[in-house]
């Protein structure tokens, strides 16, 4: 996991954290805006039918639809911002090879190399002794 969107020392220097998403998902926003738009059209049509289009009380009804939409968007924003599926900043940054595996392989390699050097050194010593 990186810290504050930057990197972390050690093996995972290239780990990048995801962007922080503040808004609701595109689907949620689309569904809400679609409802608000439809409501405004239906309300406008109704008042036009009654011959009251454009007068102040009816405009308040229209504004209320917009307010409802804003409230719904805020509600979904609160839900989505805490959901890692929509907010990559909450997802752990992961590599294809876990750091523990890399370190384990390093240790194994070093042990094998040391063992090989020791064996070669012994053999060279034996050869020198009989030369």
């Amino acid at each position: 996991m990186s810290e504050s969107g930057g990197g972390k020392s050690g093996l995972d220097t290239n780990l990048q954290q995801g962007p922080f998403e503040f808004g609701p998902s595109q689907f949620d926003l689309g569904a809400i805006m679609n409802a608000v738009s439809g409501n405004q059209t239906a309300t406008t049509n109704r008042y036009n039918q009654l011959g009251m289009g454009g007068s102040t009380p009816e405009l308040q009804d229209l504004a209320q639809q917009q307010n409802l939409g804003q409230a719904a968007i805020g509600q979904e924003q609160t839900a989505d911002v805490g959901n890692p599926a929509f907010n990559p900043a909450l997802q752990p940054a992961q590599t294809n090879l876990p750091t523990s595996a890399i370190l384990g392989a390093d240790t194994q390699n070093q042990n094998a190399l040391i063992s090989g050097i020791q064996s070669a050194g012994k053999a060279a010593g034996t050869a020198a002794a009989f030369a």
């Binding site: 220097t13 809400i32 990559p88 940054a93 876990p98």
Partner: protein, 136 residues
């Protein structure tokens, strides 16, 4: 980029998995369910004004219009909730896939390391044998 040091200079690299990203969405079945609930709410809501002088039922009236408006917002929120649950499940599946892939990669790496160790041991034996021959 991390590299493995050691005997043969083997250098597998760590690469980062992309983050899960989704615009959200629902299945056709969930969409149908939302439409059904919408219809139920609309019928129930408009029935409250049936027979009143304010107008009710499916006929176009101020109260019917307002009731439909509430049902529309309700449907949008229902769809949003279903979408959120869906994407949460998909994100969980994505994390599981990452874990499985990491395990497979770690297992493959362990296998490669074992082969390298065997090669190093063979080289050691060859060096020993060479030393013994030179001594005799």
């Amino acid at each position: 980029m991390s590299q493995i040091g050691g005997a043969t200079g083997k250098t597998p690299e760590q690469t980062q998995y992309p983050f899960f990203q989704s615009a959200g969405g629902v299945t056709p079945q969930q969409q149908s369910l939302a439409e059904y609930d919408y219809g139920q709410n609309l019928t129930e809501g408009q029935a409250q004004f049936e027979g009143s002088d304010q107008g009710g039922g499916p006929s176009l009236s101020t109260m019917a219009t307002q009731t439909a408006g509430g049902a529309n917002i309700g449907k949008a929120l229902d769809l949003a909730r279903m979408s959120d649950v869906n994407q949460g499940a998909e994100y969980g599946a994505y994390q599981n896939a990452i874990n499985i892939d990491q395990q497979n990669n770690a297992n493959a790496l362990a296998g490669q390391e074992q082969s390298q160790q065997q090669g190093t041991q063979l080289a050691s034996l060859a060096a020993k044998a060479g030393g013994t021959l030179a001594a005799s």
